[in-house]
Symmetry: C2
Subunit: 230 residues, 2 copies
């Protein structure tokens, strides 16, 4: 897998994440930024850039150079003083940290509009995120094709995931059904849920939930655009 010039550095880097450094919890904002760095790095790679300094990262990502270095310091040492960061090596490191180095199967629940947008989403592939199965509770939809997949009965989610082994799930159903779906996903072994439904999900402590709320985002913007008028 990739014999980029600085082999030994790459190996050193790839091992780094194994040691979770100290016992320090990694701040969630840091994880979110990691994904941004990765995007910039992938663009840089495409542009043929081999090396990047934290200064240059600041220009491309809008995140301060100090922040970038601090974020990486939670996981190890990835740069060379006087030079910067090897683009391909750092990509591999961040991918490994975020577990995007191996394909991540994902269960999608809800074969509606949002679900359609997700299965057709082109950016998943670059990050090895793959929607491995689609579920719905509408018997009219069950059995129909959906992208490359066939819509399955949500009642069978545990059964289906026994062979897939996905740890991530996406809930794209109406709010009224979301909690029920969450319970089924958890029972099927899912540990991380991306929730598009406007509800607070109750899940066991070992399950992580992230909510995507378009209305919430627009509400914050709505406040800001008016603020400046007053």
């Amino acid at each position: 897998m990739s014999n980029s010039p600085p082999i030994e550095q790459a190996d050193r880097l790839l091992d780094a994440f194994i040691t979770p450094m100290t016992e320090t919890r990694v701040p969630i904002p840091t994880l979110e930024r990691l994904a941004i760095y990765l995007r910039v790095l992938l663009d840089a790679l495409e542009a043929g850039i081999q090396t990047l300094s934290s200064q240059e990262m600041e220009q491309h990502s809008g995140i301060s150079a100090a922040q970038f270095r601090k974020d990486l310091s939670y996981f190890g040492e990835f740069g060379k003083p006087g030079v910067g960061y090897s683009v391909p090596a750092l990509i591999q490191c961040i991918e490994k940290i975020l577990r995007l180095d191996k394909e991540q199967p994902i269960l999608l629940v809800g074969a509606g509009n949002i679900g359609s947008a997700l299965v057709g989403y082109p950016n998943f592939q670059a990050h090895r995120l793959r929607i491995a199965a689609v579920f719905d509770n509408n018997f009219v939809k069950i059995g129909r094709p959906f992208g490359d997949l066939i819509i399955e009965d949500i009642a069978r989610v545990k059964e289906v995931n026994a062979s897939i082994g996905a740890r991530l799930g996406i809930i794209a159903v109406p709010a009224s059904a979301a909690q029920e779906v969450a319970d089924l996903l958890v029972e099927a072994g899912v540990r991380g849920i991306l929730n598009f439904a406007p509800t607070i999900l109750r899940v066991p402590p070992h399950v992580h939930v992230r909510n995507v709320s378009i209305v919430q985002e627009l509400a914050v913007l709505s406040y800001h655009v008016a603020e400046e008028t007053v």
Copy 2:
């Protein structure tokens, strides 16, 4: 418009937002939570609940009672000691704070999968968010119907918005076109942009941008689901 029991209180509350209290900037996390409170309150209203304490809000929203009270304190005093908060009155207040009390027209750019999901999104209506026009640059799509609307040429966005007067825009186009679209939106008078494209947009300081990145969300979850395995 609603003559709920505590009329005089409602009026007192509605005036409160006019005074931006002190010069204190409202924290963005507070604004984000405001939208969550609003959702809980609307659910409560539907369930016929007239009064809510900060304790009950904590149970329904997952946000601590102290946080809830502190958040509201940025805008005024909305509760009655010993009783709690009037649900209908507080709904009106938060709507007014977030400028969701009057219809907010929104320009949508990108008539693809995400765009489809957005025009069909049922939750917008409850918050008086309305997609007032849809644009694309693909001449095959221009002129076609899209939900209740007709897809217009992105080149005409300024012209079209002269009559709509929207201050909010949504970018749902590929990353390669996002910056160009952002520039056009800003020129058309948009002050707040919700960006679905995986790029950092450069905009003038008076324009607010919020990014929605599904990949980023999944990346954070991906980290967490693996973390607990080690």
